[in-house]
Subunit: 242 residues, 2 copies
Amino acid sequence: MLFFTQCFGAVLDLIHLRFQHYKAKRVFSAAGQLVCVVNPTHSLKYAPSRCAAVQASTEQGILPPCHHHEAVHDPQLVPCTCPLFSCPWEGHLEVVVSHLRQTHRINILQGAEIVFLATDMHLPAPTDWIIMHSCLGHQFLLVLRKQEKYEGHPQFFATMMLIGTPTQADNFTYRLELNRNQRRLKWEATPRSILECVDSVISDGDCLVLNTSLAQLFSDNGSLAIGIAITTSKVHSSEAEM
Amino acid sequence: MLFFTQCFGAVLDLIHLRFQHYKAKRVFSAAGQLVCVVNPTHSLKYAPSRCAAVQASTEQGILPPCHHHEAVHDPQLVPCTCPLFSCPWEGHLEVVVSHLRQTHRINILQGAEIVFLATDMHLPAPTDWIIMHSCLGHQFLLVLRKQEKYEGHPQFFATMMLIGTPTQADNFTYRLELNRNQRRLKWEATPRSILECVDSVISDGDCLVLNTSLAQLFSDNGSLAIGIAITTSKVHSSEAEM
């Protein structure tokens, strides 16, 4: 009986995935553009001390110590940077990607341009949609967060972080693009390093910010498609270019 | 004595204007791009009945009646669409531009691409920055508004309206672009007709929306430069283009 229940559950999951993929294909028919369906996760709040510790050490130009130990054993160790969970893990920057994949089951996609299709936008805040993006020899973490900065008024915040140092991050530019209903919104910026705290990037509002009404205009049947492109920064486009 | 005081005032005004223009030139050195310095105006609130009347009649596909008269004498008459003042004026659509210029002293600029430099962004909400833009044989009204949707949290809303009918508006696409501090934000949409209420466009959030922190990142010395471009819509870029 348990076997049949599990089989039925698996079939339902497959139908749901197929439906999501059909929706994605309907929205993005451009050949060769990889569409990734990203399901939401309810985020568990960070310990505030951790965020502050990461921030402070990044500002001082050193890798952040783990907040679980009073003394820093190895300054090369990085705490787990997954914004979803209060995770006690710490390790070298080079193994952050495999930790995020294996422990937090965050998908990784290859390609210079991908489409991130966040499903179930109606879910209550706080909710996160997260994916890793492998491109130009580096890995990036894309975080879309639904959060209530002002009570009763949820907003969506999207940002991209390089799984690398701030100096490495300065070599790239990322672009997030929404395009639907005869409206187009583009955000371009230098990615932040994952050594900076994603929570503070979002609370500073230094990212793509969408009110609920705009998010609805850009959504199709509860799913929001964000086109992502990463390029290496040339001499950065000055204000004169406008 | 009065004469000397007035002279001194005029000299101060000239110095201030020169300083604003210098700032504009420093921000936008691109040759041939017209920079227009726009000073803020504290907006006087609309009578809500007026907005509702304009909205209702636009939805029914007729030109809005003036809210000052219970009976509609001439359905071709349009009330004053200046979002700044509760103005009793009404007239034909063709003379709205001259009314806005002459009565409300709103500047008009020529050119397909201009830069709108809004000064004194620090002023408290509600504040409006308004200009008319003549381009492709039509006149457009650009409204930048600082408003507190959530108490204590002012936001900036920018939109473009065609001084024409909704059918005429459908033939155009406008682009607003901010570019500073290695960040770029672009908003593209079909302009709304001035027969629709600018207040409702802003309250729906169907426009470029900036939090105070983002506005500060894009500002230079308290002035926000917005690049504006208007094009005729071809077959509208579909979602597949992303």
